[in-house]
Each structure stands twice: as C-alpha cells, then as structure tokens.
C-alpha cells in the first residue's frame, strides 16, 4: 500500500514536472545539447559562378519538388519547396550571385515568436518540428530574411534545416558539399569568421572599398550561422543592413496599447460620465439648499 502510494506520487510528480517543462517552452532543448553550436557556413559571393549545384543538391537531398528555373534574371523565390535560391546581381556584363537560404540566427526571431514551441535550436541549427507546427504563419511574418513559408500540402512552415541529418553524422550540408568553387564552406564558426575577415581585407585591397563581412557577432540577432563575404554593401545584395530582433521592444508595444486605453477610454468616459454626474449632483444639492 505504502509502495503504491509512493509510486503514485512519483508518477503524478513526473507528469506535473513534464507539463511544467512543456509550459515553460522546454521542448527541444534536450536535443539542442547534443549538437555543437559553433558550426556555421561561409558564403563568398565573389567565388560563386551561379552554377546552381547547391540548389540542385538541396532539392535532391530533401526530396523537394523541382522547379528548375536557372534564369538569373528570374531566379526561383524561396518557398516551402525551395530552400535555396540565388540572389542575382548584374555587374556590367557579368553576374554576381548570393546563395540565399535560412541564416540560422543565434537569436532567431522565428523561434521567439513561435506560439507552440515547434521551432527550436539544435545546436546552431534552427529547426521546425513538422509534427508539432500548427501552421499559424507567425514565423513567416517574423523572419527578417523572408525565409520560412507555409506548405499548402503539409500545412506547416518549412525551410532549410542545415541538413541536420548530414551534419550530425559529421558530413557537410548538401549545398556546401556540392559547391564546385568553394564559394560555400562549412565548419567551425570562429574559424570561418577569421577566414572571412582575411577575404574581406583582400577584396578591399583589390579595389572593393565597400567589401564587408555579413552575419558576424555585431548583428543584433546574436550573429548568424551563415556568414557572407560581400564585395559591396549588404543592401546591394538584398540583405537588411541591420536586422533587428523583433521582440526587443515588445514591452513598449504592449505599453503603447495600454496607455492608449487610458487616454482614449478611461479619461474621456470619466470626464463625461462620472465628473459630469458629480457636477450635476453638486448643482442639484446647491439648488435644494437654496430652496430650503
């Protein structure tokens, strides 16, 4: 009997503990601990030839419906079935390309606003749990890079998962593996930032004064896990100059609405109803006293 009660308490305690972990957004954290958070991808736009091998490798590895459109003037857009595209930029007679996909932000806006906890970190990778996503679309509105999209068939948000199955087995993501010019490199983030800084310096020496490293630690979403070496300003390559962590001023936004309620509802109704009635009641009393 005593043992039964103890077991019962253990079971109930365990269930309550699990429920609390769920409520506090613990989903996925156990998995996160198992993978390194120091991996990253380096993309050098000056090495990219626009061969679309990364795009094809991504499609093949992830079994994504193919929408072959290799026209640089009309490249495919990121979608639930297109996790990599090339941002094409015409430079005189030549083209420059920037591989565009999920940036795997260290502080991801999509993860912060996801109301169900379907988006979580697995080390450096920002993952969407396809079995848990409800398809509310908040990550689509939140991402400063326009990456996640709702899939009409699955009803879930989908995007690049950094080939988590490959990198957890010590392999490179399919796109990096397929790149024939080493424009896409995969490895330790600290090491890649050092390489990127050297490449930027070299570009500046070669006559590209606006060459820059994009996605380093100075970016507000805690740095990105996709780092770019650009030969021009980020905006030229369709990148937001200073991506903001959208939840950084959430308290002010709640406050703005609450203050408006005070100004637009409490104050006028108090003045027009309570105050007026008090004044009228005061006038009535004065009249009655005068009559007496």
């Amino acid at each position: 009997m005593e043992l039964g009660r103890r077991n019962f308490i253990k079971t109930v305690g365990g269930a309550v503990g699990l429920a609390l972990l769920q409520l506090t957004g613990f989903r996925g954290s156990a998995e996160a601990a198992s993978s390194s958070s120091d991996v990253a991808m380096l993309v050098n736009v000056t090495k990219c030839t626009g061969c679309w091998e990364c795009y094809t490798a991504c499609k093949n590895h992830n079994n994504l419906e193919d929408t072959v459109r290799f026209d640089p003037e009309d490249p495919p857009e990121l979608s639930s079935n297109c996790w990599i595209t090339l941002f094409a930029l015409k430079r005189g007679a030549a083209w420059r390309f920037r591989k565009d996909a999920c940036m795997h932000c260290a502080d991801a806006c999509c993860e912060q606003v996801c109301p169900t906890g379907a988006i979580s970190y697995q080390g450096a990778v920002v993952l969407i749990d396809q079995e848990w996503c409800v398809g509310c679309g908040y990550c689509v509105q939140a991402c400063p890079f326009g990456v996640p999209h709702i899939d009409e068939h699955t009803g879930t948000a989908r995007k690049c998962d950094f080939c988590i199955d490959r990198i957890s087995n010590g392999q490179e993501p399919a796109c990096a593996d397929a790149c024939p010019t080493d424009a896409i490199q995969f490895g330790k983030r600290t090491g890649l930032i050092a390489i990127a800084n050297t490449q930027v310096k070299a570009l500046k020496n070669d006559g590209y004064p606006d060459a820059s490293l994009y996605g380093g630690d100075e970016y507000e979403p805690g740095g990105l896990h996709v780092i770019y070496v650009l030969d021009d300003r980020p905006s030229v390559y369709g990148l937001p100059g200073a991506p903001q962590l959208i939840t950084s001023n959430v308290a002010f936004k709640w406050l703005s609405g609450i203050i408006t309620f005070g100004v637009a509802a409490v104050l006028p109704l108090w003045l027009l109803i309570r105050r007026r009635e008090q004044i009228e009641a005061g006038n009535q009393t004065a009249i009655e006293e005068d009559v007496k």
Binding site: G25, Q112, Q141, A142, A157, G257, A265, W270, I273
Partner: protein, 318 residues
C-alpha cells in the same frame, strides 16, 4: 498572403469584443452601478464576437486539429502565445459571469447579494483581459519584420483606439435598440431583453447616450492622431521598404480603401456626425438616428483599417 481574410476578421472581432466589454464596464462603473445592465448586455454581445474570432483563427491554421498545441506553451515574448491565453481567460470569465448572472436572477436576496459581489469581482478582473485582448490584436502584427506594422510602436495604439471606437459604436447601437424595443408593444421582445439585461424596463438616459457619442468623437481624434503618428514615424525612420509601404497606402493599390474606407468611413465621417448629434436633442429623434449612422460607419471602418494595414504589410514584403 499568409495572414489573409480570416485573420483580419479575427483581429476585428477580438478588438470589438474587448472594446465593447471594456467601455461598458467603464460606463457602468462611472455611473455608480446604475447602468449595470449595460455590462450584461455588452458581455452577451462580446462573447460570440470573441468565440467567432477564435474559430476563424483555428480554421485559418495550416493544421487546425493541432490548435491545442498553443495550450502547451506560455511564451511571454510571443504575442500569439499571450493572445491565446488572454482570449481563453477572457471568454472563460465572461461565460462564468453570464452563468452567475442567470443564477443570481433566480436566487434569494442573500445569495443574490453574494453572487453580485462575485460577478463584480470577475467583471473587474475581466476588464484587464479585455484591455489586453484589444492590445494583443495590435501587438501581434507590430512584433514582426514588416516595416508597415513594426516601424513604430504606435500600431497597437491605433488598433486599441479603433477597438474602443468600435466598442462605443456597438454600445450606442445596442442602447438605442433596447430603448426602441422598450417603447414597442411586443411582450416577447421585451421579455427577451429583460432576460439579457436582468432588469425590467431599464433604459439608459438619453443624456448618457449623448455623452457616449462625445466620448467616441474623442476616441476617433486619438485614433486619427495614432494613424498620423504611425505614418509620420515611418517616414522619419526611413527604414528600407518604408517608402514602398507608404506609397502602397497613400497612392498605390490600397489607396482607395485607405482614403475612402479608413480615413473617411472610419474616422472623418463618424467624427463629424458624432459632433453634430451631440449638439441635437436626442429625444427629438434625429440625434439618435445620426448617432446610429455614425456608429454603423465606425464598425466596417474598423475592419477596413485592419484589412488595409494587414494586406499592406504583406504585399510590401518587408
């Protein structure tokens, strides 16, 4: 468009529910409890609005059957997560209030007194949730990467002012309707109204209705200020995509619904009509009609405001 028509309607309905309840609470409270039936009426009107809003939100999900996943999280930074709990809390408390009012109507004096105190407490708690309900519908788009929604902190202020205005408009229409029903010679209608209000023959004084109309004129001025402030703030911020977003509203594809639907129908026309009606004698009949027309303009105007802002944010991309 990821957040399409059902979401616009959800924001509109949630705003109306919060606005109707909170303004009715304030009017009942500030008039010394004499207009307590108004809070009952407002609660009964707001519950279906909020419930329909929730249903639309669920239907619009990619996986509607997984809606319960929302209830496994409590994420303070996620307005959608907070909104789920706020909506749930508001609806549950409002339904409890209606049940307690029903029991109160059929109880003895002592029990009724105790129940009245309980509903009084619940109604005060639900005021906080009603306010948060209105604010949530503005914070949801404001916490995003869309410049038209998130470029300033004033979008929640705009949506809250619009929600209050719609709430007051609904109250004006409801009160004018109740006053008209009381005057009609229909026992069935009178009995139905009495059941909802919990009081036979209650009518709101015409002077109070006129004051609600003046209050709504003030709310519309605040809404106008929030709209101008938001748009000017966007221009000043000069973030990428700002001129594209503003161009879309002011001269682009959304210019007609913006100028005719939002500026004229939701703001300027009702503002002028409320001011005119407040200067007339409401007993004469014309003032009531003018108030009703201006209130009718405010409600679809609120929907157009949300539709234009929500569509604009998504068309411009960033």
């Amino acid at each position: 468009m990821t957040w399409g028509v059902p979401i616009w309607f959800d924001m509109w309905l949630a705003g109306m529910a919060g606005g109707t309840y909170s303004t009715a609470f304030l009017i009942a409270h500030f008039s010394g409890g004499g207009n307590r039936p108004l809070l009952r009426l407002a609660t009964c009107l707001s519950i279906p609005l909020a419930v329909i809003g929730v249903l639309l939100l669920i239907i619009d999900l990619g996986n509607p059957l997984r809606f319960w996943h929302f209830l496994t999280q409590f994420k303070v930074l996620s307005p959608m997560s907070m909104g789920t709990w706020i909506l749930l809390a508001w609806v549950v408390i409002a339904v409890m209030m209606v049940i307690l009012w029903r029991i109160e109507s059929n109880s003895g004096k002592e029990t009724a007194g105790r129940l009245r105190r309980a509903t009084g407490f619940l109604s005060s708690v639900n005021l906080a949730f009603a306010v948060l309900l209105m604010v949530y519908s503005g914070v949801l788009p404001a916490v995003s990467s869309k410049v038209l929604w998130a470029g300033t902190v004033l979008l929640p202020a705009l949506f809250v002012a619009s929600a209050i205005s719609m709430g007051l408009a609904i109250l004006i229409i409801a009160v004018l309707t109740v006053n008209a029903i009381i005057k009609w010679d229909s026992a069935a209608l009178k009995s139905a109204v009495t059941r909802i209000l919990g009081s036979a023959g209650w009518t709101i004084p015409s002077q109070t209705v006129a004051r609600i109309a003046v209050a709504n004129a003030i709310v519309i001025l605040v809404e106008l200020a929030a709209l101008i402030g938001h748009l000017v703030g966007l221009i000043v911020s000069a973030e990428a995509g700002t001129s594209e977003a503003l161009g879309l509203l002011i001269t682009g594809a959304l210019a007609v619904p913006f100028w005719l639907g939002v500026v004229l129908l939701a703001l300027l026309l009702p503002l002028v009509l409320y001011i005119i009606s407040s200067r007339k004698d409401i007993e004469a009949g014309n003032a009531g009609r003018t108030m009703a027309i201006s209130s009718i303009c405010v409600i679809p105007g609120g929907l157009l405001l949300r539709a234009v802002i929500m569509a604009g944010g998504q068309i411009t991309g960033t």
